[in-house]
Amino acid sequence: MSQPESALAEAQGGGRAPESLAALAERHGLRRAIARPSMPAYLRQLWDRRHFILTYATSRNVSKYSESMLGQLWQVLTPLLNAAVYWLMFGVILGQSKSIENYPAFLITGVMVFTFTQRTVISGAKSISSNLSLIRALHFPRGALPLAYTIQELQQLGYSMAVLVLLVLVTGEPVSWLWLLIPVTLLMQLVFNIGMGMFMARLGAFMRDMNQLLPFITRTWLYASGVFYEIDDRTKDLPDFLRWALEFNPAAAYIEFMRDLLIYQRFPERWAWVTCLFWAVFALIVGFWYFWRAEERYGRG
């Protein structure tokens, strides 16, 4: 039983020439455990965890509806009911439909596109704070969590898009070759959402009141994004810079882009392309950087 005794002796530095534990550690090449990896290393770690990210996203989607009787059917029913409610409110009761041609398609496109970003923002903000036990039990790049939540929303979007395309066809719009560009705009929006999700994940992790505030923020955003009305039409009397700000709003940009393709059958203007691309790249870089800066602090304290 020499070993525990020797270890104890080492631990207390007693008996023999005292050597600090730090020096002992250095001599054996042991390192402190906590450190933030460099950005390239971090990206590599995330890539290595891609199977976990995908499986986690799918699993969450499956388990979400597993308790309900209709099960996975809700993935289609939820966007359909959403569209129905908004159409009833803004199309029938408030009578917006007169000034905008094919209002149901206009409205539902806006709702679906906005919901994708809105849900990513809300769930991204919870991705760290509601997974503390997982963070405290296992090692993995924490960015995997907001990424998984965004992928989960993307999977939901798949159903919403099918519903959307169907409804647009039902309302009498023709199929157009421009529809081939739909994946392109969805990709830009996805990249934007990934960045937003990561940004919100850090905010939500350290500002505990964020989850209470977010529904109000996203609802304000919803009303400012021209989901129910045409921004051009309503902002004629506003000063230029305000109009410009409203048009530059990323949610509005992605919505307009999708409406151009789906309903108006016109190739989006250069301005729209620039805005959508800018927001995607900007959000991705800022979101990733901001999230990564606090990597070693998630789940602590």
Partner: protein, 278 residues
């Protein structure tokens, strides 16, 4: 302990760097390389939401607090580990015992690098991993999906998952239940599956927190066998358990934590005897 010494000499350091005089103590027995060094470790963490008696979820009092510009009284600091030092070597299986709230689990998390030290440091070789995949599993999902999810959460590749899948199902002994949601499992079955999943991966330094508390006698035996294997391949195993038999059978060293400090440390029999008297 003769076999232990033999075992230790097998895993004795080959690295020239490690051939240093610290191993030449009075008995001249070669000691394994240090794998984990804990140096005067203090862990303090903040707890939210543990409100005092006067105020519990009351909006008016929360408002008063903000008006009076007081901080958050619900935020408490807990000094869970107070100056712990020890050195763990290759081939060690170290049991950590102590009452509830003595800082055992906190110490494990700190060794795993999941909690930052307030003072002092933990030095490790490689990545110590906590045997605790539980948090990644979802009870609404089938055992099958959970096995895959858990394996990925621990960082396995798809090939490794395919390789280990049958072994995990066999080891857990849940049979056809693997097709059912985990919410339908008995608590013993759930514990077995969780242990089977989390022990499927090999680790350098392994930290086990109360994994063996549940399960029947047969499974207990199987899991002890598994821990022994892991200890041989892992190098160092830390084990927290309230079941002292498990510690006595699996560990070659015991640390007794009391209120965040080491009360006693050394041979399992001696420490356990003292612990039982206390």
């Amino acid at each position: 302990m003769a076999e232990l010494t033999k075992e230790l000499s097998q895993v004795a350091p080959q690295d020239s760097k490690t051939q240093h005089p610290e191993t030449q103590n009075s008995n001249d027995v070669e000691v394994g390389t240090p794998t984990v060094i804990v140096d005067d470790l203090h862990i303090v963490y903040k707890v939210y939401g543990s409100a005092g008696d006067a105020e519990k979820g009351n909006a008016a009092s929360a408002l008063m607090r903000i008006l009076r510009r007081q901080g958050r009284p619900q935020m408490k600091e807990v000094h869970a580990v107070k100056g712990v030092s020890f050195v763990a070597h290759h081939g060690d299986a170290i049991g950590i015992i102590g009452r509830n709230g003595s800082g055992k689990s906190t110490l494990l998390r700190a060794i795993a690098g999941l909690l930052p030290p307030h003072k002092g440091a933990v030095y490790t070789n490689g990545q110590p991993s906590l045997l605790g995949v539980n948090a990644a599993l979802m009870k609404e999902l089938t055992g099958e999906r959970n096995i895959i999810l858990g394996c990925y959460a621990m960082g396995m590749t798809p090939n490794e998952v395919r390789e280990k899948y049958d072994e995990i199902v066999d080891f857990s002994g849940i049979g056809d239940f693997v097709q059912f949601p985990m919410s339908t499992y008995s608590s013993g079955m759930g514990a077995r599956l969780r242990f089977a999943i989390s022990s499927a991966k090999t680790h350098d330094v392994l930290l086990i927190d109360e994994a063996l508390a549940t399960g029947d006698r047969e499974f207990k035996k199987k899991s002890q066998q598994r821990i022994k294997q892991m200890r041989e391949s892992a190098g160092t195993v830390f084990l927290v358990a309230h079941n002292l038999d498990v510690i006595e059978e699996t560990c070659n060293r015991v640390i007794w934590l009391h209120k965040g400090k080491i009360r006693m440390e050394g041979d399992p029999q001696e420490v356990l005897e003292a612990y039982n008297k206390a």
